[in-house]
Symmetry: C2
Subunit: 291 residues, 2 copies
Amino acid sequence: MDIAKLAGVGKSTVSRVLNNDHRVKDETRALVQSVIAQHGFSPSKSAQSMRARRSRLIGVIVARLDSSAENVAVSGILSALYAQGYDAAIMESQFDVDLTAEHIEVLKRRNADGVIMFGFSEFDVAQLSPFEGRCVVMAVDTDRFSSVSYDNWGAVEQLMTHFHGEGFRHISYLGVTPKDLTTGKVRLDSYLSFCESHDLTPVCNIAEVSLDSGYQVTDSLIRPETQAVVCASDTLALAAGKRLQDIGRTDIRIGGIGNHQLLRFVFPQSISVDLATDKQVTPPLNSYSTK
Amino acid sequence: MDIAKLAGVGKSTVSRVLNNDHRVKDETRALVQSVIAQHGFSPSKSAQSMRARRSRLIGVIVARLDSSAENVAVSGILSALYAQGYDAAIMESQFDVDLTAEHIEVLKRRNADGVIMFGFSEFDVAQLSPFEGRCVVMAVDTDRFSSVSYDNWGAVEQLMTHFHGEGFRHISYLGVTPKDLTTGKVRLDSYLSFCESHDLTPVCNIAEVSLDSGYQVTDSLIRPETQAVVCASDTLALAAGKRLQDIGRTDIRIGGIGNHQLLRFVFPQSISVDLATDKQVTPPLNSYSTK
DNA sequence: CTGTTAGCGCGTTCAC
DNA sequence: GTGAACGCGCTAACAG
């Protein structure tokens, strides 16, 4: 260690200063610190994590970097991590199982202390076994790992209750494929269940996760008596809103999930529930807040 | 190295297998590989980068994780990086000088091989001095580091030329504060210059970078004769589009910068130029493509 | 072709 | 309080 000789002290003294060990005389500490500052020295994380057997690095694997829902969560996660003195390695799975596997491998090789993974349908949680006990899976239900699952059922129910409370009895639903368990099946089931228990006639259809698809499929949901359209995501809600506008049905209200700011801005007749405020954490972990 | 003993060979042989060194007998290689596979072993990046004096890690500091313009660029950067066998450390500056400094410090401590930084007004490129010669600054003009600057002037000019070519002579401009050199001043100057050289009367104003602000400021740009509004960003264009819709001026065309998919979807009367296709790289670097 | 040796920069004993 | 010595997992240089 260069600093040690420059300050005329031993390596371990420098190490102690770096780690705020109290067993250092104040003058010595000041001296070492000034030398460190002068040379812009900073300890190597590689060496530290090699020796200390931990890296203070947490991998955060999102599905898409440009997903607004994930961004909200990531933003909270990052500040919580930084506050605890951890670094984050943000990676993008792109819903790709192989790419995800590579990311996990990299995290393993970097001695990551843990992983926060945003799940997707095809993702096999078993891939996380190297991080067993040190990982959290978001937006997926699994009993093998700690998981934070969004309250998909509740989100749809919340929207339905809202519209139903306004006296609406003709509420359509625009969803995504049930192959996607959480965004697809659970939300659709929640809609159907609500309809059944409240004696409503369900009118629903499935679209791709794209604006154009949502736009086109919307037509199949519109009857003269339709009063609202609940959508499985804000992207679909935007698409539906646009279609409704184009066919002059601005009387129809829109419900989305994700709390995307553009939705309400462009289509004020819409509401969107925020998944981030309504999570279910299983089992209990060290608490972290999205704030 | 555990693998070495298990396979009954020397450490360096294992190392050679790991690094695809040809100087290993095929059987030995196969043996070692099978042992490696059996134990799910993978070499520690910490140890490697400590020894090899390089980490194959590149820091990518974006301003905002949810910026669509940056996401487009990052997406291309990531695939280019992965293709070259590099890892990326994605970080978010949030336009915060201090946070950026911390990120750079972390990258230094992790022995990052280089940095790709998306600049912002207050950012002082001097902070990157530890990575002198090994960094690229995006969206900022500087002669100290390699920089990729978007063609801000050209983007506005392109939009103006487009509308002018359609015969429009009353084109307003909605910009952001000139304190922001690239998004603010350069784009505004480009507008003013175009007006002067084409004998148009400039009508322009400055908004905050928010939907609400853009919405409000739009009014000040609208005259009975107004034919188009060019905006400094797609966010502002969305805001303007909404305002124009609300006041029934859908005859007015909109120009944005950033190629945000929602803009054209919601307001088909708009066009948006893509900064990503029109970059200026200074000085020449190892080429990389956003594709 | 393969094994042995010497550090990379740090934290952690253990002596002083 | 402080310094010297050792080893983390790996690669490069050298010796077979």
